[in-house]
């Protein structure tokens, strides 16, 4: 199965003529892959993400998501069913203030009957650890719970690609950890590919692949061990390596350690215990 769930070729975009926000972006994502996209504000991460389910019309290049050409207007709802998004601010993405209704909105909107939509909603709420909260007011939930309701709304539609755009930046550490756990479970249980746009380098370090964007271009992509240890690359993109990498560099300079820098705390522990 060499099928890709995202195939972008030479995608370019400009909101204002001659001020491109995306320049010739090519990117493949495999089924079940966890891809982190990092870059400064204004580097084009969100614009790229919004192309994936045709929230922004494609101006130039080719883009297929789960086999659907994003220009194919007849399939735009199927595209949005298969590629769901969770945004930064939980409060901005609810269509109903009642948890169960909000989560059922997606399946209903994509043509499911009332009963099937409710079943899909209940099962998605269980998947995010919020079973039984169907009748609660979304605004009475914590930020982390709200983001999981948003994620349940995406899961209820049976997506193959889930895009999270800065989805953890407004919630507390406990909420963030819950969301990360839930997303990783959705990936392993449903095989959905995850595209995680983030400023959090500790989070990016846990991805299969890290994509670095700068001024609308993909300037590098690869395993976290390669990308997040390349200080020159990161600094040219206005980014910093994770704390673990910075610590390793200090230890290396002091002659205290040898070998490639780990990128996660777990990696640091095993490198120092070896």
């Amino acid at each position: 199965m060499g099928e890709k769930v995202v195939e972008a070729r030479g995608v370019s975009h400009a909101y204002v003529r001659k001020r491109p926000t995306l320049k010739d972006v090519s990117l493949d994502v495999a089924p079940g892959e966890l891809v982190a996209i990092v870059g400064e504000n204004g580097s084009g991460k969100t614009t790229l993400a919004r192309h994936l389910n045709a929230l922004i019309p494609l101006q130039e290049g080719e883009l297929r998501v789960v086999g659907i050409d994003v220009r194919d207007a007849a399939n735009v709802w199927e595209l949005r069913r298969l590629c769901g998004m969770v945004f930064q601010n939980p409060e901005n993405q609810f269509v109903s203030s009642v948890v169960g209704e909000d989560v059922a909105f997606g399946p209903k909107n994509f043509g499911a009957g009332e009963k099937d939509a409710r079943l899909a909603a209940s099962s998605a709420l269980a998947a995010v650890g919020l079973e039984g909260l169907e009748r609660r007011d979304v605004h009475a939930l914590s930020g982390g719970q709200q983001q999981r309701v948003a994620l349940a709304g995406v899961l209820a539609s049976g997506p193959q690609v889930i895009v999270l755009d800065e989805a953890t930046s407004m919630i507390d550490p406990r909420g963030r950890d819950e969301l990360v756990r839930t997303v990783l479970a959705a990936r392993s249980e449903r095989g959905a590919a995850i595209i995680w746009i983030t400023h959090d380098m500790e989070l990016a370090a846990r991805a299969d692949r890290v994509v670095v964007m700068r001024e609308g271009e993909v300037v590098a992509q690869g395993a976290p061990e390669d990308v997040l240890t390349d200080e020159d690359l990161l600094s040219s993109a206005g980014l910093e390596p994770p704390l673990v990498v910075r610590t390793w560099r200090v230890l290396q300079a002091a002659g205290a350690v040898l070998g490639p820098a780990p990128v996660t705390v777990e990696g640091l522990v095993s490198a120092l215990c070896a």
Binding site: E40, N41, A140, S142, M170, T247, E266, L268
Partner: protein, 280 residues
């Protein structure tokens, strides 16, 4: 400026007829430097800042500014003239047509000359890593998210408040904007302002704060120096919070049997603690 909260309690109505206690007998004092306020969503951080700013009046207890009761008279006037409050997502409150007018608005309202307004706006924007010449004529709504946040913070810094209160100033900022924001917070404290920052971001607080308080269900549960709290990942975890990344790594190393001394807050301190642990 010295701000003292003495047994401050405040409740608001959640569901009809149901009172939610946002602050519960909170007593603390801040004077100079940067104080961090940690706590989970709903723990009362934002309410605490709003009480300190005089935006919300406590149901019980007192707020004192430089020893004067802030609930009325001279104390209330002193607080109103001294405080700068940066709310969460301050960029949502933009209303002017250009960045220059947005940043200068509060100063002009205070009757300061246009020349002085321009000078102070320029300086405040520069502190946040932005240029008035470059952005002054643009609509604040046309800026990127990170630029908008920095313009919003600059518009408060331009007032040179002696009490600067910021709610989640770094949320969603990229590393460069975040660094500029943290440096501006430090600079304000160095110029003598009393600064209070509420945030989930343990690393940001570790970088700027002299001391930290933690709230849980409206009560102060921890109160100490930045190192005592954010350097102690195990203690923070016990309270459902997070220590600085270096402290969390140190704690993970200790659990794996690697000797690591002290309470590191930065990569450099963590490396030094690992080296020291080996030679001991």
């Amino acid at each position: 400026m010295r701000v003292t909260l003495d047994g401050v309690t405040l409740a608001y109505e959640g569901a009809p007829g149901e009172k939610v206690r946002a602050l519960d007998a909170v007593s603390l004092a801040v004077e100079g430097g940067v104080t961090g306020v940690m706590g989970q969503t709903g723990s009362g951080k934002s309410t605490l800042l709003e009480v300190m700013a005089g935006v919300l009046a406590p149901d019980a207890g007192r707020v004192l500014v430089d020893g004067r009761d802030a609930s009325g008279g001279a104390g209330a006037r002193l607080l109103a003239a001294s405080v700068g409050l940066v709310l969460q997502l301050p960029e949502r409150q933009f209303f002017e047509s250009t960045v220059e007018r947005e940043v200068g608005f509060g100063l002009l309202a205070r009757g300061i000359s246009t020349r002085e307004v321009r000078r102070r706006s320029e300086r405040a924007l520069a502190l946040m890593g932005l240029s008035l010449d470059e952005l002054g004529g643009r609509s604040p709504f046309s800026l990127s998210g990170g630029q908008q946040r920095r313009v919003a913070i600059a518009s408060v810094l331009a007032l040179r408040p002696s009490l600067l209160l910021l709610d989640e100033p770094t949320a969603g900022l990229d590393p460069r904007a975040r660094r500029a924001c943290l440096e501006a917070i430090r600079a304000a404290a160095q110029e003598g302002a009393t600064v209070v920052v509420a945030s989930h971001d343990a690393n940001a607080l570790a970088a700027v704060c002299d001391c930290v308080v933690a709230l849980e269900d409206g009560r102060v549960t921890l109160d100490g120096t930045t190192r005592e709290l954010l350097g102690n990942a195990a203690l923070m975890r016990e309270h459902g919070l997070e220590g600085a990344c270096a402290a969390r790594a140190a704690s993970a190393l200790r659990r794996a049997g690697v000797a690591v001394s002290g309470a590191p807050l930065t990569a450099e301190e963590l490396a030094a603690a690992i080296v020291a642990g080996r030679s001991s």
